[in-house]
């Protein structure tokens, strides 16, 4: 197959879990090591002492808002910025002193940065020509690469004659053709409309899995990060606040920033009233109630904590539920019907608002909850996460 030429590692077929997820093994050797890297622009600290290990064939996402330092970190990997301190190793080699044009790293730019004066094929061939690859081989590899991204028939067009999706694929082909050890993608789907973005996501994953190249994606879109990546690093104010698989980040956020940034959440400030090894009880004045959590936590007695409940984990009903704990009464303040689900904003007697989502399982209208209905909210003891920071 043509693909095998670009494959650095045979594509795993039903591999055991720890081969697919080397970060779960203690002995796995990281492919890219970022060690205590900081970047200062004058007084401003863009990246603050970041350390990160990325494994071969991973599709790693850096997720953060604008100004979180994710792009600066990416640009340091590409060689457009030099770290103020710390070092970066790729495949065991310190690349900090290597200029961008010699690094085994390629980048797909947010704007795609396709050269407007060159045809698509010449854009893709650009990197190979700089390496002095013989002309016949350049031609062959460009043709293969264009086929891979389904642009085989458009090689002679100029970038401005392509649609947005085609441009995105041309940029991907140009960045992949040098068989980089690490491919950097800056908001790869940011310029596409919603529908195209969803299709392209899976295409991107397919190409990445087929070629086995290590991908590092920067994005501000948490949905994109969740669908694309093996692991996500969430960045805030120049620091990495949590690294983990998408599922971990969503279900086990380690702090309020991650809980709020990834998905939406209801946070209740409170204090621990009962602290046992297998459960805790938290009193929250703003909810006017106590919460029961069926696992122990480690915190100082009397410490301020936050109980976090995702909107879809809350049951909403007209009748009072059986359970005694984690049960609140309120009034529906707003209903948003979204087709597959409805979003409710429920007002508690104390004035606190709670967000609840409920799948619309029935088609009939009469069963539906309405504005100003009095309702009961409840959730199970393992649906709630306690955050200490």
């Amino acid at each position: 197959m043509q693909l095998s030429e670009y494959t650095q590692q045979p594509a795993p077929v039903q591999a055991p879990d720890d081969v697919q997820a080397p970060w779960r093994r203690a002995d796995a050797e990281p492919f890219v090591r970022i060690e205590n890297v900081s970047k200062h622009f004058g007084e401003f600290v863009a990246v603050d002492n970041v350390s990160l290990d990325i494994y071969q064939s991973e599709l790693f996402c850096l997720l953060g808002g604008s100004g979180s330092g994710k792009s600066t970190l990416l640009r340091m990997l590409a060689g457009f910025e030099t770290p103020t301190s710390g070092r970066i190793l790729i495949d065991g080699v310190d690349i900090s002193a290597i200029p961008a044009w010699k690094r085994p790293v390629n980048m797909m730019f947010q704007s795609y940065a396709l050269f407007p004066h060159l045809s698509v094929a010449d854009n893709v061939a650009f990197g190979l020509k700089r390496d002095g690859v013989p002309r016949a081989e350049v031609k062959k590899r460009v043709a293969e690469m264009l086929d891979l991204v389904q642009l085989g028939h458009l090689g002679r067009r100029k970038p401005h004659q392509l649609s947005g999706g085609q441009r995105q694929r041309a940029a991907l082909a140009r960045a992949l053709i040098k068989r980089p050890k690490l491919l950097l993608l800056d908001e790869p789907l940011g310029a596409l409309d919603k529908k195209l973005r969803e299709e392209t996501q899976f295409e991107l994953i397919n190409i990445q899995e087929n070629l086995g190249v290590t991908f590092m994606v920067v994005t501000h879109d948490q949905e994109e990060a969740m669908t694309l990546s093996t692991r996500i690093g969430v960045m805030n104010q120049g620091e990495i606040v949590q690294v983990g698989e998408p599922h971990d980040l969503y279900e086990y956020p380690q702090n309020r920033f991650v809980a709020e940034f990834v998905g939406s959440v209801n946070l209740f400030e409170g204090q621990v009233t009962e602290d046992e090894t297998d459960f805790v009880r938290i009193h929250s004045p703003e909810a006017g109630s106590s919460f029961f959590i069926n696992h122990g936590i480690s915190c100082a007695p009397g410490q301020k904590v936050w109980a976090a409940v995702r909107p879809e984990k809350i049951r909403i009903s007209r009748d009072k539920p059986e359970q005694a704990d984690n049960c609140l009464e309120g009034t529906i303040d707003e209903v948003a019907y979204m087709g597959s689900l409805s979003v409710f904003r429920v007002l508690l007697p104390g004035g606190r608002q709670i967000r609840v989502t409920k799948p619309n399982m029935a088609r009939r209208f009469d069963e539906r909850l309405n504005y100003r209905d009095r309702v009961w909210l409840s959730w199970s003891g393992d649906s709630c996460v306690v955050l200490t920071s």
């Binding site: 457009f80 961008a100 044009w101 940065a113 396709l114 050269f115 990197g127 700089r130 040098k178």
Partner: protein, 317 residues
């Protein structure tokens, strides 16, 4: 919708090529408006060329005006006498051809040197921070608005035997004898380059300003060294600016009169100066007209065709 279709004849006219379909009352109005500038230019720009052509076919005469009439009214017979002698002389005397070729040579070389000097300036301005950019641009524009004649004059004081350049070189011990720089071809080149430098910098700047940083980074990312990046990305992408700037320098430089007159020697042959001398010194109006006609044919017409071609290419892109 109704009010739109009633009161939008102007917009409709723009899209629909046929002005015949417009309401009748509007046609005379628009033609009238368009006829004012058209007539002005016809009278003061187009007809003069016909007069030039006519006089180029006349002979010099000691008269007011100093040329013979083409039409003689001889009692009963009207005679038309065309004199091609001026054109014949143009090709016989090598002075005119030499001056023509030399003008093109001087203009082409100065354009190239101006481009080389202007490029780094435009590049640095385009890459400067917005605040500094305004300052640097003003520094380029300032000479552009200052009298052209006085700027050429400044070089006279600068280049002459006991001028600033010679003083500096002498005091540095680089030369023992003052150099003769004024009234040489060298001074003419300097004058042209100096005068038209802003005309080159401004279009280059606007081309380079549009250059996206990420394109430069992409080139670097794909293995370009800085110099390769310059030739493979910066130059091709600033080509429209290079062409526009070169035309803005080349066109006026070819017909230049003031610079060779003030900075050049009497041997500095340039076609604009030949025409001037033919008219003012020799008072040979028909000959000057013949020179003008040939310039029009072999200089202005090719340049206009070139410019039109360029414009069309840009429209297509």
């Amino acid at each position: 919708m109704n009010s739109m279709s009633q009161s939008a004849p102007l917009a409709v006219g723009r899209r629909r090529p046929s002005w015949l379909r417009l309401p009748g009352r509007l046609i005379p109005g628009r033609s009238l408006v368009a006829s004012v500038p058209t007539l002005w230019l016809g009278l003061f720009f187009l007809i003069p060329f016909a007069v030039v052509l006519k006089i180029s076919l006349a002979e010099t005469a000691i008269a007011v005006p100093p040329y013979t009439s083409l039409f003689e009214w001889d009692g009963a017979v009207a005679a038309l006498s065309l004199n091609l002698g001026n054109y014949q002389f143009l090709f016989e005397d090598s002075l005119y051809l030499d001056a023509y070729l030399n003008s093109i040579k001087v203009a082409a070389i100065s354009t190239l040197i101006t481009l080389i000097i202007a490029f780094p300036m435009a590049y640095v301005i385009a890459r400067a921070t917005p605040g500094r950019r305004v300052v640097l641009l003003s520094l380029v524009i300032l000479p552009f608005w200052t009298s052209f004649l006085l700027r050429v004059y400044a070089w006279m004081g600068f280049l002459k035997k006991n001028g600033v350049v010679n003083d500096v070189l002498l005091s540095l011990g680089l030369i023992d004898q003052p150099l003769t720089m004024l009234q040489t071809d060298f001074a003419v080149y300097i004058g042209i380059i100096y005068t038209y430098l802003p005309f080159m910098i401004l279009p280059l700047y606007s081309a380079l300003e549009k250059l996206d940083d990420s394109l430069l980074e992409a080139a670097e990312d794909l293995g370009c060294r800085p110099l390769q990046r310059f030739w493979l990305v910066v130059v091709p992408l600033s080509l429209p600016g290079i062409v526009a700037g070169s035309l803005l320098v080349f066109i006026p430089a070819v017909g230049e009169f003031v610079i060779p007159a003030l900075l050049g020697s009497s041997d500095t042959l340039m076609i604009g100066r030949v025409l001037w001398d033919e008219f003012f010194l020799n008072r040979d109006w028909p000959m000057a007209s013949a020179v003008a006609t040939m310039m029009l044919l072999f200089l202005v017409v090719p340049i206009m065709l070139l410019r039109n071609g360029q414009g069309r290419k840009e429209e297509a892109a």
